[in-house]
């Protein structure tokens, strides 16, 4: 869906060729007006001058990008040096999303593989079990997570009550809570593509390798993992990209004290800062980052796939 831009099967049917542009017209119009035009407009806004306390002045300016990348001191008249504030917000987002992706992979891969090796009839039920929580509103899931992890929440009650810990574990309002929240939000996105890839895996390969005296873990590393790699890549993207722009988890689980990109952008439009061009510029930088990641993975996929 994200990485491999496979547009269809190899055989090209032409049954509806004469009507193809008419058939595409509604989607083209809708998406051009409601996605492409707004994104272009946002790009335009990122080059405008900010109006004090929200809004824009229609004058070309690079100050939004300048603010992002260069630090001119608290008072704006020091010589410019590289600005770390926003870069570190981006870096933190990438780090948080990365850890969440890794956690999803560590839990998601064995799960997906396990499901794929169940008898065919059972598989649907397992997949079903993994997907159900995803249909519950993301907000509610995040809030539930917070409820579970609270200092006086059920988890800590259990840990302290059973004598495993003498004092409740503080998880809420830490970076770990944010990682946990992101991991929890997008875990099914990791399991499903890996499952789809693992289901098609030909176990004769494993057997052949085992016949050549490979151990189980060597088989896993050398044969199985490379075979399901497209699924892993897709899963990682599906977890990483939404995590990167998320603001519910940092807001609700992280105590809103460590900005991630999503919160930084939101603050420019809905909160204290009111700097629209800067919010647009930060969005553009995020968008560019995501597109670069998708391009690299698409290229890798294309290389590895053939």
């Amino acid at each position: 869906m994200a990485g491999g831009a496979s547009t269809g099967g190899s055989s090209q049917s032409e049954t509806f060729a004469p009507a193809r542009y008419w058939l595409l017209l509604p989607s083209w119009v809708t998406l051009t007006i409601l996605v492409l035009a707004p994104v272009s407009m946002m790009m335009g806004y990122s080059f405008l001058t900010k109006e004090f306390r929200g809004g824009v002045i229609w004058e070309f300016s690079l100050s939004a990008y300048d603010q992002f990348f260069f630090d001119r001191g608290l008072f704006g008249d020091d010589p410019p040096v590289l600005q770390w504030t926003y870069i570190s917000i981006f870096w933190r987002s990438i780090w948080q999303a990365g850890v969440a992706t890794l956690m999803s992979l560590v839990i998601g891969f064995p799960t997906a593989y396990f499901i794929a090796t169940r008898p065919e009839k059972e598989r649907a039920i397992w997949v079903f079990l993994v997907t159900i929580p995803y249909w519950v509103n993301l907000l509610i899931r995040t809030v539930s997570m917070k409820f579970l992890l609270r200092d006086q929440g059920p988890l800590n009650d259990l840990l302290v009550g059973s004598g495993l810990l003498s004092e409740p574990l503080t998880i809420v309002n830490t970076n770990f809570a944010v990682q946990l929240g992101l991991f929890y939000s997008y875990l099914p996105f990791m399991v499903l593509p890996i499952y789809a890839a693992a289901e098609r895996y030909n176990f004769a390969l494993s057997e052949a390798a085992a016949d050549l005296y490979a151990t189980r873990w060597t088989v896993l590393r050398r044969i199985l993992l490379p075979s399901v790699k497209p699924g892993i890549v897709a899963g990682c993207i599906l977890v990483f990209v939404p995590s990167l722009g998320s603001f519910l988890a940092p807001d609700l689980l992280g105590g809103a004290k460590n900005f991630m990109i999503g919160s930084l952008i939101e603050e420019q439009f809905k909160g204290n800062a009111g700097n629209w061009p800067f919010g647009a510029a930060a969005s553009m930088i995020l968008l560019t980052l995501v597109m670069v990641i998708l391009l690299i993975s698409a290229r890798q996929q294309a290389k590895g796939g053939k």
């Binding site: 929200g54 609270r150 503080t170 309002n173 809103a256 909160g271 204290n272 800062a273």
Partner: protein, 345 residues
């Protein structure tokens, strides 16, 4: 299938437009959360046969941001704090209430009739006033709490258990009081000191949140919470073992005001609503609910007797001065914004 889809779409579209067509006799309020009793809204709705729609915000800055982001022309009235009234008037977001439009304007207490943030009450009427300081869980800390050090340089027992309001105005004003410097100072050394102090204080803070300011104190998730006096009183009544502090360095005083927004779609109802809130009985209901003080004469007979004696409304003799949040000029405000962003990084 196609015809099914078609008729569903048509039916659904009808429902939507039917909902939108009920535009007559409305009043659209943009209000703080948990700040007006539902019964009072119902009363106004019944008396004037209007449908009330209310949206909520959690900081003065969020209110301004939403209005600047194209929400003008959708709301009739809002309830900004003192300094925000001044900012909104300066931004041209407020409509003027003409002389004689408000029948009950004479009910406004003299001390609030001509405030510096809205000379002559051109755009606003008083809603409630109170203070912003902080409350401390007495089970966790028994020592002296009447100092801003509790927030910015706390004792070990409280470090890491502090919730701050997610509101630049309140945090910055409190920080200025702590350092004993004027608000909106453009003095470089003072601004630098402010920045450095906040950066080191941040290590002691657990979270920034206005919405849950009461909830975290009640649940015990935070041991100290920056909070409005009435909200603190509610937290105490809900069982939080807390005491509201009146720091010797000073604390923030505020007044929230009902303002008439420019391009209000239901201006006549908005005026009626403002008049409604100037009646002692009605505004007293707000005080009883939110535990703040009204700015209208004649409310005393309608007030809950416990309100006058609640500790949150009665500063001790050695309490510092109560100060209003000041409006900074653009240059200082931009530095404040910068300090704020760095703080939340």
């Amino acid at each position: 299938m196609k015809s099914i889809i078609k008729s569903t779409v048509a039916a659904a579209a009808l429902t939507v437009t039917a909902g939108a067509a009920l535009a007559e006799g409305q009043l659209v309020i943009y209000h703080w959360f948990e700040y007006i009793p539902q019964e009072l809204l119902d009363k106004f709705a019944a008396e004037n046969d209007v449908e009330i729609i209310m949206d909520t915000y959690d900081s003065n800055e969020a209110l301004l941001a939403a209005l600047k982001a194209g929400a003008m022309g959708t709301y009739d009235v809002a309830v900004p704090g003192d300094y925000m009234v001044q900012i909104m008037a300066g931004e041209g977001l407020l409509d003027t209430v003409a002389d004689g439009e408000l029948a009950n304007k004479g009910n406004i207490q003299p001390q609030w009739a001509n405030p510096s943030f809205d000379p002559g009450r051109m755009h606003s009427i008083p809603y409630q006033w109170g203070s912003t300081s902080f409350a401390v869980n007495r089970d966790v800390y028994a020592g002296d709490i009447n100092t801003t050090s509790i927030l910015f340089d706390p004792p070990a027992e409280l470090s890491g258990k502090i919730n701050m309001l997610d509101s630049q105005g309140e945090v910055m004003a409190m920080a200025a009081l702590h350092l004993g410097i004027p608000q909106c100072s453009s003095d470089r050394d003072q601004l630098k000191a402010l920045n450095d102090m906040l950066q080191s204080a941040k290590a002691h803070w657990a979270s920034f949140n206005s919405d849950t300011a009461k909830e975290v104190l009640v649940s015990g998730d935070a041991a100290v919470g920056q909070i409005y006096d009435g909200f603190g009183a509610k937290a105490r009544e809900e069982g939080a073992p807390i005491e509201y502090a009146f720091p010797r360095e000073g604390y923030v005083v505020w007044m929230d005001n009902v303002v008439l927004l420019k391009d209000a779609p239901n201006r006549a109802n908005a005026i009626k609503f403002m008049d409604f809130l100037l009646e002692p009985e009605n505004i007293a209901a707000v005080s009883n609910y939110a535990r703040y003080v009204a700015g209208v004469d004649g409310v005393a007979p309608y007030l809950d007797p416990t309100l006058a004696s609640q500790p949150e409304s009665n500063p001790p003799a050695d309490a510092g001065p109560g100060v209003f949040i000041e409006v900074c000029d653009q240059q200082v405000q931009e530095i404040y914004d910068r300090i704020w962003t760095d703080l939340k990084n």
